[in-house]
């Protein structure tokens, strides 16, 4: 009996690994289910990139849906995402808020000057403290916030034109249908 015991133990382990491979081929392993979906977006007050003296806060944004896009000049994937935002981002019909994450303001400005600025507003979070409230996993990352200030959709990683067409645009359309 004792001698056959390791065998079923190993069978269990194999089953677990088989499951793991199946699971990972259907799920993005980096996808952390955000506990913030359908919860109010954290209250934020962050300085604007162009006018550091002024700041943007959550309450001033209430009343209309908007997309928060986390980016940084040091982030390579943001560079890949950028042209997509430049073309598709402006056609979304909602304000696009650039969330400059753990970045040097002067480098961020230079980066936007070089690659173009798709954002309606850019806010800066040097320390990354507010990003913790948002549960930011890394840049780029995007949050769709509705008129009531509730996060309705989140995407980790760069947007592609396809993702915008299949995920983001329908989510925005759904918000419009809800609106009175």
């Amino acid at each position: 009996m004792m001698r056959t015991l390791p065998l079923p133990g190993f069978a269990l382990l194999t089953a677990l690994f088989g499951f793991g491979i199946r699971w990972n081929s259907h799920h993005d392993p980096h996808e952390v289910p955000s506990p913030l979906i359908d919860k109010p977006a954290p209250a934020f007050v962050l300085p604007r990139l162009d006018h550091p003296g002024q700041s943007l806060d959550k309450t001033s944004m209430l009343g209309r849906p908007y997309l928060v896009n986390v980016f940084a000049s040091w982030c390579i994937a943001c560079g890949e995402e950028h042209p997509v935002l430049m073309t598709a981002g402006r056609k979304l019909g909602i304000p696009l808020i650039g969330y400059n994450y753990k970045d040097d303001p002067s480098e961020a400005k230079a980066w936007l000057a070089r690659h173009g600025n798709p954002y309606d507003q850019v806010i800066t979070d040097r320390s990354g403290r507010t990003a913790i409230d948002f549960g930011v996993y890394g840049a780029p990352e995007s949050f769709l916030v509705d008129a009531g200030g509730v996060i309705r959709y989140k995407h980790i990683g760069p947007f592609t034109a396809e993702l915008i067409a299949t995920e983001l645009a329908p989510a925005i359309a759904a918000l419009r249908r809800e609106a009175p």
Binding site: T4, P6, L16, F17, I21, P33, W74, D104
Partner: protein, 657 residues
């Protein structure tokens, strides 16, 4: 042309491995010397073709052959030649090629040094290694071809992961793989013994030097990896219980259990089945480690490649190798049961058994913790992962009995220990440990962890040194310390040294995150850190902001440290900490971010550490590694046919009594 030759070599190696895996085992079964004789030439042929493939890939890197996808993905024109060589094993396909190359090194070494083994046994061992090679070569040829072409050929390649562009990291994978793959030899010995039944009772003794050497390499590989994490990741940590670290640590833990179990089985004939099971486990965990890193089942900062198709292949391979071996074990091991010599409760057997139990449990604990995220997905518990708190609590708990028993191990006799002698050792070690703990109490002001560290190290050190002294007095000159015993003593001392490093560096360490403008100073302990600003420097394929930090003790300049923040060709940022190493501790400076604005220009955030005795962690590890190598070099184990001489070596206590 060259890459195609490389691929062709791999296919030929696969065919030869299949021959090496099947023909000699059939020959051993049928008793045919001519079939058994196929093993060595087939192994040599396989090694030649694998080496050819490896050199062709290296040549591709050295000559910037970006028409090879793998070369284009992992190097570029600016990468210095030594990192281009290291890039050969910098990603998935090449690291598998390194794996199979090292398996061939071990196989060839075994083919050369196994001439004194009974031919049928040697044929089985080489055959089993051939079968393992078939699995890995098939994996490379069918799912991970390192020679795949990239057309049209790009003008320049991407880059080697900058994390890997460090001397520690170029050494780490080959040494680690020497250990991982080295356990395949112990595994092959066990399977051959199971296949051959009870005919070959001496197999454990033949397997011992191989196991010790493999374990020594694995220890060295883990030490190099830990050192790299410390120097390169910029947080001053040396072990993170990351899945990939755990993957190398589990075979290490089972390896510790195995080398001790082999000692019992060889000298006393007991626990044969357990020793076989441990050999299977050690190699299975090495395979599992490869599986975890390469399959994408667990994702971690270290996992550099993952692909589900490859995962399925490794899983099937793992199922065949481990499942097959365990089945063979279930069917055949009843035949292996021989009555070992009896032993009393107070005996070396008992001590080793307790340690074995603890190490095996620790490996199980690490396995459970590593797989827990997967388990929680499977059982729908949501995203859960267990981290350092789980390991950090359970591991010391499981190792406590080991540390307490360690000083007695060498003093205990096989069969029945001398309680009086043990009490004397315990008394002296306890006096040493308690008095040093009291001194520490005064020095460090109630830091319990540090005090426990010193007490534990003195406890182990005293026990080990007392034994060394006893040998010196009781045994005639020239045979004080056979290599096997010297290795054991070195490794045990290493545990004490390691404990000092672990238990002192953390509670007594000082960490400070500061913002410093040029000219500003920070005082940590007796040292003053003066920040002298940052300027740009250029390397072959990176640009760095390099800080200068002058360390002063009183008004004397101790050293000037140069931490860097590098940006590599593709924009990846990598911190290079500056470390001023010393016996009594390290000073460690990592460059954070520039802080614009404020009243002074040129200010940066800096992380300053003082890490007392941290170096002792790796020195402890190196002692253990050395212990493994010295024990492996024992002449007694190299003469397989002089069986009788072994058992009659008088135990120390007998000559004392």
């Amino acid at each position: 042309m060259m890459p195609e030759l490389g691929q062709f070599s791999l296919i030929l190696a696969l065919l030869l491995a299949a021959v090496q895996g099947v023909v000699p085992i059939v020959g051993a079964w049928r008793g045919s010397p001519s079939l058994m004789a196929v093993a060595r030439p087939a192994a040599a042929g396989q090694a030649v073709f694998v080496a050819a493939a490896f050199f062709i890939l290296t040549y591709g890197f050295l000559t910037f052959d970006f028409s090879i996808t793998y070369v284009a993905d992992n190097s570029n024109l600016a990468l210095p030649w030594y990192y281009r060589v290291a890039a050969v094993w910098g990603a998935h396909e090449g690291s598998l090629l390194l794996w199979i190359l090292i398996l061939n090194l071990w196989t060839v070494a075994l083919a050369i040094f196994s001439r004194q083994l009974p031919p049928a046994f040697a044929a089985r061992v080489l055959g089993v290694l051939g079968l393992v090679a078939v699995g890995f070569l098939a994996f490379i040829v069918f799912t991970s071809n390192p020679f795949a072409r990239l057309l049209p050929m790009p003008g320049n390649g991407a880059d080697l992961n900058p994390v890997l562009q460090d001397p520690g990291m170029t050494l780490h994978p080959p040494v680690l793989y020497m250990g991982y793959v080295g356990f395949s030899v112990a595994f092959a010995f066990s399977i051959a013994a199971l296949l051959g039944g009870e005919l070959e009772q001496a197999w454990v003794r033949w397997a011992r030097p191989w196991t010790n050497a493999a374990w020594g390499f694995l220890t060295g590989g883990i030490v190099a990896g830990s050192w790299w994490a410390y120097a390169e990741l910029g947080w001053g940590g040396w072990w993170f219980w990351d899945p990939v670290e755990n993957a190398s640590f589990m075979p290490w833990l089972i390896g510790v259990a195995l080398i001790h179990a082999q000692a019992i089985t060889e000298k006393r004939g007991s626990f044969r089945a357990w020793t076989i099971l441990l050999s299977i486990f050690a190699f299975s965990l090495s395979l599992l480690g490869t599986f975890l890193v390469r399959s994408g089942v667990l994702t971690s900062v270290h996992a550099f490649a993952s692909d589900p198709r490859r995962g399925v292949f490794i899983l099937i391979f793992l199922g065949i190798v481990v499942g097959g071996s365990l089945l063979l074990y279930a069917v055949r091991s009843p035949k292996m049961i021989g009555q070992g010599k009896p032993f009393a409760v107070v005996s070396r057997e008992t001590a080793i058994l307790v340690a074995n139990l603890m190490f095996a449990s620790a490996a199980g604990m690490v396995l459970l913790g590593t797989l827990f995220p997967l388990l929680s997905d499977a059982l729908q518990l949501g995203k859960v992962s267990v981290g350092a708190p789980y390991f950090g609590f359970l591991f010391p708990l499981l190792m406590l009995p080991v540390v307490l028993l360690l000083p007695f191990g060498p003093h205990l006799h096989w069969g029945r220990g001398d309680k009086g002698a043990l009490a004397r050792v315990a008394g002296r070690a306890a006096i040493g440990a308690v008095s040093c703990a009291l001194v520490m109490w005064v020095l460090v002001d109630g830091q319990l962890k540090a005090i426990a560290g010193v007490a534990a190290a003195v406890w182990i050190g005293t026990g080990t040194v007392l034994f060394a002294l006893k040998r010196c007095r009781a045994v005639p000159r020239g045979s004080h310390y056979p290599a096997e015993m010297a290795g054991m003593l070195l490794a045990h001392l290493g545990v004490g040294v390691f404990l000092i490093g672990v238990l002192l560096s953390e509670p007594l360490g000082i960490t400070r995150d500061v913002r410093m403008a040029p000219g500003e100073t920070q005082t940590i302990g007796s040292y003053t850190f003066r920040f002298d600003g940052v300027h740009g420097v250029d390397g072959p394929n990176w640009h760095a902001e390099q800080g200068a930090v002058t360390i002063l003790e009183g008004s004397d300049v101790v050293t000037v440290m140069h931490p860097q923040k590098r940006v590599y060709a593709r924009g990846q940022v990598q911190t290079e900490s500056a470390i001023n190493a010393g016996w009594r501790g390290d000073l460690y400076v990592a460059l954070g971010e520039p802080m614009p604005g404020g009243d002074v220009a040129g200010a940066w955030t800096l992380r300053l550490y003082q890490k007392p005795f941290i170096r002792w962690i790796w020195f402890g590890g190196l002692f253990m590694m050395l212990g493994g190598f010295v024990a492996a070099a024992d002449r007694r184990l190299r003469h397989p046919r002089t069986v009788a001489a072994v058992v009659t070596t008088p135990a120390v206590g007998e000559s004392l009594a």
